[in-house]
């Protein structure tokens, strides 16, 4: 007998999806051509009768391959290993390509762009050799390390498939207890949640020429990823993009468009805090969850007292709200809810400055239930930033001409790569589900605390 449980194991289908526009090569290969010709002639004489020996080149990646070898090096193949320049310092020089500095901006750095493009192309976890190359710590997310456990942790197997690590999170209203009337029927609030399979939702795409295709890509990717795409209500209406995976976002100016929504959404978001509109929204969509989108430094208490149970806390694209960084603000919001005794009842989604896979577990450790992804998604779709991309309006980005299927696959690849990296982090800690990571600051280490402990008493420290 077949048991129809409706259960399916969550899986993201990845597929190699090449870039539409090749990113600038990482390196410039500068060859002194006359010296090269001289070298070849010298080696032809030295290895008389052994043309293969004389013509064999140092590069194992094919940069100096046919038809004309070093006279027209294939820069796009160069990985910067420096073997050629170590062997022939007088002939070839490898330089970082200055064009790459134009990728991303001061927050979403060129190396982040590289990583995101790799993830969006392949769906795979970036792996490289030779240890860590960056600064010791730093501001923001770089000043935080996640924990691991040496022993007692069977969940590591989850990464190789034997055991399951859940990345699902619940968004919604989760009362701490139920109340019943004399007849045993529940009265008062009952749990109303929707589950998404990854702790990422897709935040509003930037307005502009490509808005329609972007919105289609986001909505379809959210459907296939079993998560949510937050889309302005005017976009939902204009491009007929309803469905259970779309979360319309309504502002005061777009309020009248609610009439035109093709169906009741599973969840709808209100931009900014307005108690009257919040109540009106709940009344209009009694079956729907209602989220409130407010800046990350907002005081949540009055909203929670009014009954708000789902928040989308926003920082700017560099992770700041009111001059404070997301790490501090998320912890503040989380603690405020803990102090109110309501943390378990409320869902916190956060966005802004979460641009690398490692930022996700760190943001969750600080107190989020889920993150909303923004600029990283745009980079996956090969957006170019025009200067600094800090504020949503106007977001300074340009997209190439996009095809929906290509874009959906790129986002699926990116989300898969990030989910796999989340599994790595959870596995290292021995956690079986991402829900257990929320607010667990004991599972991370802050640079400032560790340094205070390690370097206390060393002359010059803390001065």
């Amino acid at each position: 007998m077949t048991v129809q449980s409706g259960y399916h194991r969550y899986h993201i289908e990845t597929r190699f999806t090449p870039d539409l526009i090749p990113p600038p090569p990482r390196f410039r290969v500068r060859v002194r051509k006359l010296r090269l010709i001289g070298l070849v002639l010298k080696e032809l004489i030295e290895f008389r009768g052994h043309v293969r020996v004389a013509l064999s080149r140092p590069c194992v990646y094919g940069v100096f391959s046919r038809p004309v070898g070093g006279l027209a090096p294939k820069e796009e193949l160069c990985v910067g290993c420096l073997r050629c320049t170590v062997q022939y310092p007088e002939v070839v020089q490898i330089c970082p390509n200055p064009e790459r500095l134009r990728l991303g901006d001061s927050y979403l750095k060129p190396e982040y762009v590289d990583t995101i493009l790799y993830e969006a192309r392949t769906g795979r976890v970036p792996v490289r050799g030779a240890g860590y190359r960056g600064p010791f710590g730093g501001d923001g997310w770089d000043g935080m390390w996640t924990d691991m456990s040496e022993i007692v942790r069977p969940t590591r197997d989850g990464i190789h498939g034997r055991e399951f690590i859940s990345t699902a999170v619940d968004i919604g209203e989760k009362p701490s207890f139920l109340t019943f009337d004399a007849a045993g029927h529940p009265i008062g609030p009952t749990p109303r949640v929707l589950s998404i399979q990854v702790p990422f939702v897709l935040d509003v795409p930037p307005p502009g020429r490509r808005l329609r295709v972007l919105a289609e890509i986001f909505a379809e990717a959210a459907r296939q990823l079993e998560t949510l795409a937050i889309l302005p209500v005017e976009v939902v209406v204009r491009f007929s993009l309803g469905g259970p995976h779309v979360m319309p976002l309504v502002r005061a100016e777009t309020w009248p468009l609610l009439e035109k929504l093709p169906e009741s959404p599973r969840i709808v978001a209100l931009a900014g805090w307005d108690p009257d509109r919040y109540r009106a929204l709940r009344a209009r969509f009694p079956e729907s969850l209602v989220a409130v989108r407010v800046p990350m430094d907002a005081d949540l208490e009055p909203m929670v007292r009014t009954g708000v149970r789902v928040f989308h806390l926003t920082a700017d694209y560099h992770g700041y709200a009111g001059r404070r960084f997301a790490i501090e603000l998320i912890q503040q919001a989380h603690r405020q809810l803990v102090d109110m005794g309501l943390r378990e009842e409320v869902t916190l989604i956060g966005s802004g400055g979460i641009v690398m896979a490692e930022h996700v577990p760190k943001a969750i450790i600080c107190g989020l239930d889920a993150v909303a992804l923004d600029t990283a998604l745009w980079v996956a779709l090969q957006a170019r930033f025009d200067g600094e991309c800090v504020e949503p309006a106007p977001a300074a980005v340009t997209f190439p001409r996009l095809k929906t299927a290509w874009g959906v696959q790129r986002l699926k690849n990116l989300v898969n790569a990030w989910r796999d990296q989340l599994l790595e982090v959870l596995g290292a800690m021995g956690l079986r589900e991402v829900r257990r990571l929320r607010g667990e600051v004991g599972r991370c280490m802050f640079q400032r605390d560790l340094e205070r402990e390690a370097f206390a008493g060393i002359e010059g420290f803390g001065e």
């Binding site: 990583t115 860590y132 770089d142 390390w145 456990s149 040496e150 290292a428 560790l450 060393i458």
Partner: protein, 434 residues
Amino acid sequence: MQVPLTTVDMRIVEKHRAALHRGFHVWPTLAFDRPPAMGDARWTADLILATWYQAETGRPPDNGLEYRVGASGGGFDVLDFKFLPKEKWLPEDEPIDTSIPLNRRPYDRRIEIPVPWYGAGMSFGSVSEQIMLARAKAAQMWRTFTCTGEGGYPDSLTPYKDHVITQIATGMFGVREETILRAPIVEFKYAQGAKPGLGGHLLGDKATVAVAKMRESVPWVSLFSPFPFHSVYSVEDHKKHIDWVKAIHPEALISVKVSTPTDIDMVAVGSYYAGAHIIHIDGGYGGTGAAPEIAKKNIAMPIELALPKVHRFLIQEGIRDEVVLMASGGIRTAYDIAKAIALGADGVVLGTTELVALGCTRCSNCERGRGCPFGLTTTDPELSELVDPDWGAERLSRLYASFQLQLRDILRRLGLRSVRELRGRTDLLVYRKT
């Protein structure tokens, strides 16, 4: 199948080997001309070239290359020593002891090494046999150790067995009774700094016939070392592991290699009570093999922050002088060695530094295509011939000589007669963050 190299192939190798050796010599002498694409915050171009220089000359560079610190903006790079005024330095002819014991327990075999470092585990498969040999030869010359890593024990290392640590890791690859019996020190690798909590992964391309045979696996199939040891769920289980090795080889000293979680101090104490002679903590910023980028930078703490925590906790527990604390994961220079010891280690374990001495440019392409283009982290038959074990051993030996020279100089300027006196002396450090 691996095909033996033809004469023409060998001539190609020889041509490139000669050109590479020339390059290793020339680059560090071009004092104001660094390869523009070389280096990063941790390993600056200067540090790489200075290491090449030391591997060639046996002394630190005097041509302006910065050979002491990198540019990471933290940890070792912002620590310096509070040297005594010159008139208080120890005289040049005063002997300064750089040796450390590897067993501080009142029982079991005494092993002392003349320098406070040995070589880190790098498995057969992740590096070539030539590299393993070069390291073993250097270890023998210096009466210190190198470590097999977890890929088994190639027979070619047997002549150097008194200087080879056998590693037992979660994959148990190549672990056999005779290799345990051969080893003066057996190292249990619980975790490694480059990928804390993630186990190991050898890509199929590197699992050649020879590698697979050694690991008793199938050629060209990727190999995973799981995480953690599935037989260890407590300190008692951990002790069982140690007892198992001691039952096979009662003479062996036991090292336990762990990463740096927030409770690293408790882990160290647990290992001590389980019977380890050496606790080897591997910070998150080192590692020679390929690792997910997310793991390298984000999971577990850097060694500079873990060392004082462990050292002080072992003191509080009253067991500091019964256990040897070795540190690894980002030790690049003689100054890093001295700083790690001042932060609380007895000695250090060198990995990347040795590969840099052998020509690594830290390009991070170890796993790409045929593997390391310099013949280090590869099993490609042609590329691995780029490193001749004797040449490699000489380079490592000269690097060690330079490190010892500098270490003695540091101790002399601090007024210390033995490296053992430096341990835990954070009062001799100064923090200089710009």
